[in-house]
């Protein structure tokens, strides 16, 4: 008689209990991988310091170098490694069955970036002390974001339900920053609005994925339906495609106004990929690529800055000390690196105290890595991005529903595509676009946005193999008695 309500009550409290009860769960694989990361970074730092000492001994006749590498580099790196292990400890205490590979991979990429920032001239950029201090600060804030998201996000309703709100927030943020950026000069803006002043498109890429995931998972059946025919292509009912195209057009329009071609390319690629991931219709991709070729051709003739970029790409040696300067220098850097590189700290002969590539810390870290670690090294770095993408797709394939699947796939593909765009740009495989190398490049907004991505991915990866907790656990004897009595 009372069994049913009692069981119901137990079930409710059981669920509440499960939500708030925290049992630490060891994350052995993550610990092992993080240890390897720590050893790698310490070795890298030692190698960097040794190279620096040797070089300064050769150049200055024995006087110790006064740059940051030897003075404070170890300290910064120690702080970073400690921060990584603190994140690990927090995840262990949170006790969720989540992914253990994303954090070490992100940590290694961030550490490589930090090593690079330590050995570059410190006055390149940076609001808080030098280049490396600022980068470390952003890395630590990013790791905090990862921790908070990975521990706290248990539920995706706040992302799923408010997809149009998110889209509006993204566009609003972009417009706001755009307007403010015009009214106030850059420096004041960066102080007042903080991290998001730099590149709002970095944050927008996350929001775009959230919106697309929400929209596509909801309307997937309608999109697969073929009711409209355009030539040989069968298209879904046009009204259902409109919000997506509008979102895409708004994002694209704004980045074109802001002349941020890299972000435009990234958004479009992610848009197409997610459309394909969710519908498995190759016709969308063909159509999208056709639109891309058309749009690119149009942009080439309409916008000067697009034409300049493509001309540089076609022949950077036409103006090697002017327009093509950075690309030519990057190619030389790769050439100097060769197969195994010059060694950490041994690359990049500076020109008048500055590295030959002005935007080395933001747009060309891949060229710097190519010089110092060689082909072998940059292949490893690309491998790390591949690992991130693989984890994301794996999380997507194990996801409970379509929204989570598309979200996980989209988030990881954003990182992968972005890494591809800038790496290929550095290598002159595609025209160079100003976009950051995720986790490696200097820059707050980029690091924070990518940290949000990793944090969400870790949260999404939670394995909930048993969807319903047991309603009650009667003792073995009681069960036998029950059965005997009945």
């Amino acid at each position: 008689m009372t069994a049913a309500p009692a069981a119901g009550g137990m079930r409710a409290t059981g669920r509440e209990g499960a939500r708030f009860r925290v049992t630490p769960r060891l994350r052995g694989r993550e610990l092992l991988l993080l240890s390897v990361v720590a050893v790698a970074l310490v070795l890298g730092s030692v190698s960097l310091g040794a190279t620096r000492l040797l070089r300064s001994a050769l150049l200055n006749g024995g006087s110790p170098p006064d740059d940051l590498v030897v003075l404070a580099g170890q300290g910064l790196l120690t702080i970073y490694i400690v921060a990584l292990f603190l994140v690990h400890a927090a995840l262990v205490l949170a006790g969720r069955r989540t992914d253990q590979i994303l954090l070490p991979t992100m940590g290694l990429l961030g550490g490589i970036g930090l090593l690079l920032m330590i050995r570059l001239p410190q006055d390149l950029a940076g609001r808080f002390g030098g280049l490396a201090q600022t980068q470390l600060l952003w890395l630590v804030i990013g790791l905090t974001i990862v921790t908070v998201l990975a521990v706290a996000v248990r539920n995706d309703v706040w992302l799923r339900r408010y997809k149009y709100t998110w889209a509006a927030v993204g566009v609003g943020l972009l417009l706001l920053t755009f307007v403010l950026g015009r009214d106030i000069n850059g420096a004041r803006l960066s102080v007042t609005i903080g991290p998001f002043s730099g590149q709002p498109s970095e944050l927008l890429k996350v929001i775009l994925v959230v919106f697309l995931a929400g929209y596509l998972s909801e309307n997937r059946p309608l999109l697969v339906e073929e009711s409209t025919k355009v030539g040989p292509f069968r298209l879904p009912p046009l009204p259902y495609l409109a919000p997506m195209v509008a979102m895409w057009a708004i994002a694209l329009g704004i980045v074109i106004v802001q002349r941020d071609l890299g972000a435009a390319l990234l958004f479009f690629a992610v848009f197409l990929l997610l459309l394909y991931v969710s519908t498995a219709r190759f016709s969308f991709v063909v159509l999208g690529l056709a639109a891309f070729v058309l749009g690119a051709g149009l942009l080439y003739f309409v916008f000067d800055h697009v034409r300049t970029r493509i001309d540089i790409w076609v022949d950077p040696f036409a103006d090697p000390s002017g327009a093509g300067y950075q690309v030519v220098q990057a190619l030389h850097a790769f050439a100097r690196g060769g197969l195994i590189g010059t060694g950490l700290g041994a690359g990049l002969p500076s020109v008048g105290g500055q590295p030959p590539i002005p935007a080395l810390h933001t747009d060309f870290p891949f060229a710097a890595l190519g010089e110092e670690l060689g082909l072998v090294g940059i292949l490893a770095v690309l491998g790390l991005y591949l690992v991130l993408v693989q984890r994301g797709l794996r999380i997507a394939s194990a996801a409970q529903d379509e929204f989570r699947a598309i979200l996980a796939a989209g988030l990881s593909l954003v990182i992968g595509v972005q890494a591809f765009i800038i790496a290929a740009g550095n290598l002159k495989l595609i025209p160079l676009t100003g976009i950051t190398l995720p986790f490696v490049s200097y820059g707050g907004s980029s690091l924070l946005a990518n940290a949000v991505i990793v944090g969400l991915l870790i949260a999404l990866s939670e394995r909930t193999r048993e969807p319903l907790p047991p309603p009650r656990r009667p003792g073995r004897i009681r069960r036998l008695l029950d059965r005997g009595a009945a």
């Binding site: 008689m1 049913a4 790698a40 190698s47 690992v387 794996r394």
Partner: protein, 132 residues
């Protein structure tokens, strides 16, 4: 040295990924359990039929149930089998003629072990482990 560590890291990660994929390739084939029809006077479903079970399986005469039992003593939505934690439970959904486990009537939610026999109307079904 740094490069060697990079590749050591990659090797460890790839090994972990391959293991993960291997175990994932094994996982989806695991059924939670099977329900085998042992007696069915109406012949629908036929005795000997085996149903692979989802985590939530509803049984009844209505065509929208996971397992349709076309027997005149079975209610439209008769009973539900749920897999919670690591065990099966059977729940009577307010049926006219009741649900019985090993001959005793189910009152509310009741645990179900492998080998137990459930009677719904005139249909008897036995819960079995999934075939490996």
């Amino acid at each position: 040295m740094f490069l060697a560590m990079l590749y050591a890291f990659l090797w460890l990660v790839v090994r972990a990924l391959v293991r993960d994929l291997r175990s994932a390739a094994r996982e989806p084939t695991i059924e939670l359990g099977r329900l085998v029809v042992t007696a069915s006077p109406s012949g629908e479903p036929a005795p000997g039929t085996a149903f692979a079970l989802d985590a939530i399986t509803s049984l009844g005469r209505d065509v929208n149930n996971s397992i349709v039992l076309d027997d005149e003593f079975v209610s439209t939505t008769h009973a539900a089998l749920t897999y919670r934690g690591r065990a099966w439970y059977v729940e009577d959904l307010g049926s006219t003629n009741g649900t019985f486990v090993n001959g005793s009537q189910v009152d509310g939610l009741s645990p179900l072990a492998f080998g137990d026999e459930v009677q719904i109307g005139q249909v008897r079904l036995r819960l079995e482990r999934a075939r490996a």
